[in-house]
């Protein structure tokens, strides 16, 4: 019975979601065999979802990706060298329950913090890269995230490299209070120097990017890309609804909305991200100028 059932499922998912799957219980299916799309609520074989870069084979919804998964997706194989992996803060973390929560998350996610930074090549072009992971404290920015991002930017400035940052964050980290807020200024200042050195910063916004991260480095890219349908905004939708006492329109604060209002350059589907980044890096590489003379940029 079970093999027949699986075969039927496989055949149907091949037709993507064009034909709705009959409603059947998955309660007896082995753990993790199927993944439910959070958007269209259909179940798909996990292997198939993974092979499709965690994009729903039916509706095209971009599911959340881990930082390591993201790196595997965009960086040339074996090219990644992580920077400041073991960084920890010397700040006081005495907010009730906070350090226990960090320890528990480290164990459950295998991550030390909500961002991974490093250098890699993308289609042969060297770049600094930072990737946030929303599984770790909602990708929030505390002292370690702020410091790792700042160090990555400073490294890029010193080595005259571009920097690419994939954001996924609920904003500044509440538990570290004012220190978290100040990380917005710290990362912004580091980007100013990178910018003044005439270097390229590509900001890639993924679901969700809100609060203090939107109000700092996420919005400061020379080029800003976003994954389809990602929630991107300063205030959270709930806070806005409570303030204005009305329901928000469909699609508000989604990537498509931001594109329409002029805040991002392009929406890029996940399977095209690597090629898009490669192309942008190539267009900004000094060797792309071929026989033309270098046009010196105004230095502040």
């Amino acid at each position: 019975m079970i093999p027949l059932f699986q075969e039927r499922r496989q055949k149907l998912t091949q037709f993507k979601a064009l034909r709705p799957r009959p409603k059947t219980s998955t309660a007896s299916a082995p753990e993790g065999l199927y993944t439910r799309c959070p958007d269209c609520k259909q179940d798909y074989l996990s292997d198939q979802v993974a092979a499709n870069y965690f994009v729903c084979p039916g509706c095209g919804y971009h599911m959340r990706l881990t930082a390591h998964g993201r790196l595997r997706l965009v960086a040339d194989k074996g090219s990644i060298r992580e920077l400041n992996a073991g960084l920890y803060t010397t700040e006081n973390l005495d907010f009730p329950g906070y350090s226990e929560k960090l320890t528990a998350l480290e164990a459950s996610t295998g991550l030390k913090e909500a961002v991974i930074t490093g250098v890699c090549t993308i289609e042969g072009h060297s770049t600094v890269i930072a990737v946030m992971d929303s599984r770790f404290m909602m990708g929030s920015m505390g002292s370690v995230v702020g410091e790792k991002v700042s160090r990555a930017i400073e490294y890029a400035t010193r080595r005259r490299l571009p920097i690419i940052i994939f954001t996924a964050s609920g904003g500044a980290r509440m538990q570290e209070g004012i220190v978290s807020l100040m990380q917005m200024a710290k990362t912004g200042n580091a980007l100013a120097r990178h910018h003044q050195a005439g270097l390229l910063y590509i900001s890639c916004l993924t679901h969700p990017t809100t609060g203090g991260v939107t109000a700092s480095f996420a919005s400061l890219g020379d080029i800003i890309l976003a994954e389809p349908r990602a929630l991107i905004g300063f205030a959270g939708p709930r806070v806005i609804e409570q303030t204005i006492r009305q329901t928000l329109p469909e699609g508000f604060q989604r990537s498509e909305f931001l594109l329409e209002h002029g805040f991002i350059d392009r929406i890029v589907e996940r399977h095209e991200m690597r090629a898009t980044l490669g192309r942008l890096l190539r267009l900004h590489s000094p060797s792309a100028r071929k026989g033309f003379a270098y046009i010196s940029h105004p230095v502040k």
Binding site: F95, G177, L181, A185, G188, A215, A235, H261
Partner: protein, 308 residues
């Protein structure tokens, strides 16, 4: 009993005192009043400071502009689409030194508050502020900002017009300004909405002002899904002027009379003016490059980390 409750009770006692002729009763009332005063002001909690920071009678940016500077010329608009009344800015003279003054504007009455949006700026406000700051840099004027906002406005249009981008841009540009910047938190320093005007060489706070990552109400509702636990949140948030001074984020505190500043306060303007003159005397001697370098380091060391 919170400071707010104590103050309400004191007002009630004052009314009774005015009405009663009975000396024994008057003595009782006066005793209770003095007990309440010493209790309330002798042991101020973090949330009491939040209450004082938000008191409508507290001087606002307009009071500081009128009493510290002369010849204030207000400037309007972001040159893109709008003039945001929640941010006031312009050119003024500080004992003969031309400066650019910018601040969050709160009202003292409901009508004023509706006009100024309770001191909550839209992106246009931050863009106006940035325009004035870049202009100050062009004409080599020091910049003085007055911080008093619950936060940037969380609305439909503010999101549509790029609230996040406007704040981010200000943080980045303020860090690179080649003229001195002094930010003074005079009331509420709420979140990114406050930070967007306070990336500065010196950050000063009034004794009963607060500066935090979020309002205590917002903090409680995010962390515990219960905004009514704001009092509890305030105690954990380390948001008072003393907390920030001890943490090394704020450089100078200005004392306030018991019960906080109000319309009758006089000395604060003189003290603040003298402090500004002295500090600008120091900062204007530094080169633009040195100022930027110093400011970079000031923020760079907040949230220090190590890997050994």
């Amino acid at each position: 009993m919170s400071l707010q409750q104590a103050e309400d009770r004191i007002r009630q006692l004052d009314r009774e005192l005015a009405d009663t002729e009975d000396n024994d009763r008057r003595r009782e009332l006066l005793q209770e009043k003095s007990r309440l005063l010493s209790e309330a002001y002798g042991n101020i909690s973090a949330y009491d400071r939040v209450y004082l920071a938000r008191k409508p009678a507290r001087p606002g940016v307009r009071d500081y502009i009128n009493r510290i500077f002369t010849d204030f010329f207000e400037q309007h608009g972001d040159r893109l689409m709008h003039d945001d009344p929640a941010i006031i800015g312009g050119i003024a003279s500080l004992e003969g030194l031309p400066v650019t003054v910018i601040g969050h504007r709160k009202g003292k009455t409901l009508e004023e508050n509706l006009k100024f949006n309770f001191g909550m700026p839209n992106p246009e406000g931050y863009r106006k502020a940035l325009r004035l700051m870049k202009q100050a840099e062009k004409f080599r004027r020091p910049i003085i900002t007055f911080i008093d906002t619950p936060g940037a406005y969380p609305g439909l249009e503010s999101e549509m017009h790029g609230q996040g981008e406007a704040i981010a841009r200000n943080l980045m540009e303020m860090g690179s300004l080649t003229v001195p910047v002094i930010a003074i938190v005079i009331g509420e320093g709420g979140s990114g909405g406050a930070l967007a005007l306070s990336v500065a060489d010196r950050i000063w706070m009034l004794e009963n002002s607060v500066y935090s990552i979020l309002s205590p109400e917002g903090f409680a509702s995010i962390l515990w899904k219960d905004a009514s636990r704001a009092r509890e949140a305030a105690e954990l948030m380390k948001l008072t002027a003393y907390d920030l001074y001890n943490r090394g984020i704020v450089d100078r505190l200005f004392g306030e009379p018991a019960g906080g500043l109000d319309e009758s306060s006089r000395s604060i303007y003189e003290r603040m003016k003298n402090a500004l003159i002295t500090e600008l005397g120091v900062l204007t001697k530094l080169s633009g490059r040195a100022l930027v370098e110093q400011r970079y380091k000031k923020y760079r060391r907040i949230g220090d980390c190590t890997s050994d």
